[in-house]
Subunit: 235 residues, 2 copies
């Protein structure tokens, strides 16, 4: 049902960025393509989720945030519910694309791949207050909404399976004793937990310290592959 939204992401996003860069007054009447409008509204939704939280995010907020009129959301999306699902879908797609790209770029060495995946989780592009807050807003509602629950597995089975495979490979080459599935679960949980803490915004946790903790975990779990055992500054 939402298949009409996710495609042409790149082009629409570029157009959106361009228009906001130019800061066009956006007069009246028709001005942008359907895809751009939808992205614009989705971005405004993320803004609102981050600023006001899920329960306080209203259609008016989104419309105002996008600088458009009140009825516009029900035109591009049928309902508030569908807007939110589309937003979550958008973030999930973005997240998946991001870690897949990082994995590809890491080459063939499993140890490098694993480290790249972990590092990718803390890239500015996806790991920032705004996005984290939006994710957490959806997490908070996921239990009682099957649709959200399914999509919140953006860090989904596929993602976790990559970790399981990598753990299994490293176990062989390093002669470790752990169970790959168990270790992979720990890793995934650690990453999510760090996200959660980042989002909560306790001062002592920053993107850097979070990544440092994750790397500490890697070197503890795979000492033969990450032997930089916590020297003063382990980049």
């Amino acid at each position: 049902m939402l298949e009409t939204i996710t495609p042409m992401k790149a082009e629409a996003r570029d157009a959106l960025l361009e228009s906001t860069r130019k800061n066009e007054p956006e007069k009246r009447g028709r001005k942008a393509s359907k895809e751009v409008r939808q992205l614009q509204l989705i971005e405004a939704t993320i803004d609102s989720l981050a600023k006001r939280g899920y329960s306080e995010t209203t259609m008016a907020d989104v419309a105002d945030g996008a600088g458009l009129s009140r009825g516009i959301v029900n035109f591009h999306f049928e309902s508030k519910e569908k807007l939110l699902v589309a937003t979550l879908q958008y973030m999930a797609d973005e997240y998946a694309a991001h870690w897949r790209a990082a994995l590809t770029k890491a080459g063939d060495d499993p140890a490098r791949q694993l480290q790249a995946l972990v590092a990718a989780d803390f890239d500015r592009s996806i790991c920032n207050k705004r996005k984290l807050a939006a994710w957490c807003a959806f997490w908070g509602e996921a239990k009682s909404r099957p649709t959200y629950q399914a999509l919140c597995g953006a860090r989904d089975a596929a993602y976790q399976n990559v970790f399981i495979d990598l753990c299994a490979t490293l176990k062989q080459s390093g002669g470790y004793a752990f169970e790959p599935q168990v270790m992979a679960l720990a890793l995934c949980a650690l990453l999510e937990g760090l996200w959660l803490r980042l989002m909560m915004g306790t001062e002592d946790t920053t993107r850097e310290t979070a990544l440092q903790s994750a790397n500490e975990f890697l070197s503890a779990a795979f000492p033969r592959h990450y032997p930089w055992a916590s020297g003063p500054k382990t980049a």
Copy 2:
């Protein structure tokens, strides 16, 4: 403001449990002490949060869930907001009391203490679908509500400091190389992440597998203290 609620927890809770055990028809008029009523409403709030989620939890839900009339919540608590804060406060207190008790019961050995803390996190009494869902509901709103944010640090500074101290102690006695703060952050994040996954309810993650993952982490990070290196079945 809420100091009137948290005290006398034990007695009031017993009374509540007793009354629900007896399943009294709860006719009309005055029937129970103030504290019992408040606890009853808080429990109903947790139920609703777990079942309907934060954004769909209404005063009517809570009142109905408690089998009382509509206006009752505004009588015992001043507003919906205060009811929710009291509920979160209640869960935070319960959580803190739980891990403190586990810590005390673990004796003097740091390694045992750490293991006890980890295990305590997965006790049925606090780690069940209902409570996890309620926690996550609050997490989802925490970013935009300072009051929640403060209380959601139930796993607060004190909690994390205990982990830091234990990590430091074990580091000395085991000759590890990690930074205690970094490792403690990883541990806390792992526990929260596992909670999050448990709440999401993916089938492959149960309380047992979660605990197993946490223990795997312990034995990876502190191999000299937890040398049961992943034998077939490590209880």
